[in-house]
């Protein structure tokens, strides 16, 4: 019921405002496209298959980078969260590196990982790695002590302690980290693909800018928004399910 009126209502309103800006602004159409031209642009890019190919390329790259960072982030997060002594020495470095935009590393990324798929994947990896790492570490460090007590009481030792107790206990914390990481990584996908990639939505943006096709540029931008939204929905469904099962109120 809700979505049947809100979403279309919302998009119609956005459309109208956009039209208004175009009409009142008196911009050159080549510089600021009308919604209608963008709709045609969608048709054009879908028609020649470019859009879906780029979406597919981006998604593949995205998932490779994201999954590597999830695996690495959770793995190191578990270790570092558990051995607080090590974490205390790693933490300052992480805190210094974290505020740095992944794109800033580009020259070094090219040096170490070459061109082609790699830079975009590495940038997505960097973007997603820290949220995953930090949320895993904090999930471990804030694990409800009662679980550990139960484990001790029932004689559960490593490695069972890890798989039976710790991992499931930190799951919700990690899940919310994964959610944040997904958002961040998707935002940086564009930047990643804008540099040194020859396909994908980010490249589409660059390509359309290079071809001065601002209508298709807008198509690329909106596509990124929609796909990002779908991804976000996907994770939040998973997250909600976990939260419900674990009995966490949110």
């Amino acid at each position: 019921m809700k979505k049947y009126t809100y979403v279309p209502g919302s998009f119609i309103a956005a459309w109208l405002i956009w039209e208004l800006i175009v009409r009142l602004g008196g911009f050159n159409e080549a510089l600021f496209p009308t919604p209608y031209k963008v709709l045609l642009g969608f048709g054009e890019l879908i028609g020649d298959g470019v859009l879906f190919k780029d979406i597919a390329d981006s998604l593949v790259r995205f998932f490779i980078g994201y999954i590597i960072s999830v695996v690495a982030g959770v793995f190191f997060g578990l270790i570092l969260g558990w051995y607080k002594g090590i974490w205390n020495y790693i933490n300052p470095i992480v805190q210094v590196i974290r505020p740095i935009s992944p794109v800033a590393w580009l020259p070094f990324i090219v040096l170490f990982f070459g061109i082609g798929q790699a830079p975009a994947i590495v940038i997505i990896f960097i973007a997603a790695f820290f949220p995953v790492l930090l949320s895993t570490v904090s999930a471990i460090q804030n694990i409800d002590p009662v679980y550990i007590k139960v484990a001790r009481n029932f004689g559960i030792r490593q490695p069972e302690l890890l798989f039976k107790i710790v991992l499931p206990a930190v799951f919700p914390g990690i899940a919310s980290g994964l959610h944040i990481a997904l958002g961040t990584a998707w935002i940086f996908l564009v930047t990643g693909e804008m540099v040194g990639s020859q396909t994908g939505l980010g490249f589409l943006i660059i390509d359309m800018r290079n071809n001065l096709r601002n209508d298709l540029l807008m198509v690329a931008i909106l596509t990124i928004g929609f796909v990002g939204l779908l991804l976000d929905w996907g994770v939040s469904l998973i997250e909600k399910w976990i939260y419900k099962r674990w009995g966490i109120e949110k």
Partner: protein, 257 residues
Amino acid sequence: MGYISVRNAHKEFMKDGEPLTILEDINLDIEKGEFICLLGPSGSGKSTLLNAIAGFELVTSGSITIDGEEVKAPQLRYVTVFQNYGLLPWRTVESNIELGLESKKVPKEERPAIIDKYVKMVGLDHARNRYPAELSGGMQQRVSIARALAVDPDIIFMDEPLGALDALTRINLQDEISRICREEGKTVVFVTHDIEEAVVLADRVVVLAANPGCVQTIIPVNIIDRTDRTSPNFVNIRNHIFEQFQLAKEDKIEFYI
């Protein structure tokens, strides 16, 4: 020397860099099969004492032995039921109850029968495949009790297991805990700050005073029908403990608030 024997137990915690005595010179003997309630105001060290006996946090000095053996770590033979139930939310009722059986290396084929027995004992047959988040507080605490019983422990420790439940649910669970533990012949150490609860459950009530925690008095409870909370005997003992409690209250009023 009793089955559980606490001798001159002291416990200190560091607080703002200074040692603070929480338990002072506790002496306590508990017989096999006894149901003991530790009753005391907040901060009197009930949980600390229970944790020490259960092996979670050892005392600073003095000794605690169970069955003649020094307590050094928690054991599967002595199971604790926590106030917030300590259920694993990612496991169903059945699977939570199975937890201890796994460590105990009970063969897979024997487990269903055991689980079945205890699930029925706590009246959760209809909810055996549900997850903790889908259960009310009272039902969760039942699962926790079933999980403890399933490993057939010698001793059950309970730390305010009913503290978070509403009055009527409490009454029901008190009756159930009393019945089950006596039927199964378990030794129980039960922490509470509710006088009536202590009277309903305990064979002996150990009243702790606070600041630092010490045993103020030990009151034996001899009641035949424990489910009748209106019998003169029940009311007498309740009143007696109440007076003891008031004593503790009078002189340290600011502390409890």
